[in-house]
């Protein structure tokens, strides 16, 4: 279970969100560009620090201004997928996937085994020694997911996971992604601009406007709020 209360001053407004996600639950964040959705992910994974608030994941407190706790990003064990995937361009597919294990000082043979298993599960075994610059959008997405999942994270944050995957492959990739998230059995937050992502991935949907959660409910409930301008255009598409 993840629970977040975070306040942070941004350039145009103060971001102030409170949300919680249960294990095995997928929360989808929607909202205008610049509403602060990606910032929420960065605050949770530790790339940014809240001005105040509290973030707890299971038994662990990741951030709390009250008790002065701020676990650094590298110790949070949160899988964070960036919009453009941020695969390390100077490494091969398997080097990318092995990176986190090496940082954790996992012994070499053990790490190699985990990487091989993860690559096989993601249908990437044939690409193990390929430089990531030569991959398609869908392949990059799978490498990024493999790189995060091999570390058995306690939380998964996905920023526009399918935006760089080409249209025809998106349907299959989305189903695959949904299965992976379900199997992982951990809390998951997905940021998206895509209605299909929201419908197929979300157990719960939150609408973020100017740094605040203005609607929180099942996809049907939130997408039914047609009086909201953003929802009307989002669901109308």
């Amino acid at each position: 279970m993840l629970s977040v209360r975070a306040v942070r001053g941004l350039r145009d407004f103060v971001l102030d969100v409170t949300l919680s996600v249960r294990c095995g639950e997928t929360l989808v964040l929607i909202g205008e560009n610049g509403a602060g959705k990606s910032t929420v992910l960065n605050l949770i994974s530790g790339i940014l620090t809240p001005d105040e608030g509290e973030i707890t994941l299971g038994e662990r407190t990741l951030f709390s201004d009250g008790s002065g706790i701020d676990v650094p990003a590298e110790s949070r064990n949160v899988g964070h997928l960036f919009q453009s995937y941020a695969l390390f361009p100077h490494m091969t597919v398997s080097e990318n996937v092995a990176f986190g294990l090496q940082c954790r000082k996992v012994p070499r043979p053990e790490a190699a085994l985990s990487v091989a298993k993860q690559l096989a599960a993601m249908h990437l075994a044939d690409l193990a020694n390929v430089n990531v610059g030569r991959l398609s959008g869908g392949q990059r997405q799978r490498v990024a997911l493999a790189r995060a999942l091999v570390l058995e994270p306690e939380l998964l944050l996905l920023d526009e996971p399918l935006a760089a995957v080409d249209m025809r492959a998106q349907g299959a990739m989305r189903r695959e992604l949904r299965d992976r998230i379900r199997n992982a059995g951990i809390p998951c937050i997905v940021v998206t601009h895509n209605l299909r992502d929201a419908l197929e991935l979300a157990d719960r949907l939150c609408l973020v406007e100017e740094g605040r959660v203005v609607a929180d409910g099942t996809p049907e409930e939130v997408l039914g709020m047609r009086e909201n301008g953003f929802i009307a255009s989002f669901a109308g598409r």
Binding site: G46, S75, P89, C103, R147
Partner: protein
Amino acid sequence: MDSTRFRQEREVLRHGGRTRFPRGALTLLIVALLALFLLFVTLPVASLFLRISPEAFLRSLAEPVVLDALSLSLVTATVSTAIVVLFGTPLALVNARRDYPGRALVDTLTDLPIVLPPAVAGIALLMAFGRRGVVGQYLDGFGISIAFTTVAVILAQVFVASPFYIRQARASFEAIDLQYEDAARTLGASPATVALRITIPLAWSGLVSGAILSFARALGEFGATIMFAGNFQGRTQTMPLAIYTTMQGDLDAAISLAIILVVISFAVIAAVKIVTQRGI
């Protein structure tokens, strides 16, 4: 009808011999200027090769004064480049990533040696590290003297060559997309691991070309060295100083040293081009 006639006149003007001639002349002028400039740059360099016979060149290479200068120059320039890289890399990385009060001042100070005349650098170093210098007087108490030693040669080279590396390194670090470093952090990399395994490898070609330029500047250093380190064969007489000294007696030795420096210069240009284009 008027406009038709006007257009016809214009056509005549445009295609007439008179307008074509100046255009051709302009091209000719530009080509001539270019040729003249290229000649101005290449002729002196070529003259070095024309003024000495291969036998005389090889004979000079065996002269102790040439050999001493060559080995001293290579050793000191290598050491000073290593020092610049060792201290300059963290400095450039911090200035590229962290904002702190006084960062602009630090940037300006690191650039200062580029615009400072070498003679000024030389006397400034002497005032700091000379026997009676601001720092040197205390070092002298411990029996350490820097001025007029090989260490002084290296210090002078570090002083004048460091901005070439630090500027290039900072620009290369700034060109890296921050998302790679953020992703590495979330995967469990400590700041040191991020720097060693992500940032430095991604900036590698820029760092190498910066180091090569810094090495070249150190190799050519003359003014600050002769004032701060003196001109003692085998200890402080680097190649530029040896050229200056030998040209007053043994011109062949001076030309031979100059030719070696020309070859190294070409190698530096070629190396930087290869490194930056291929992105090694």
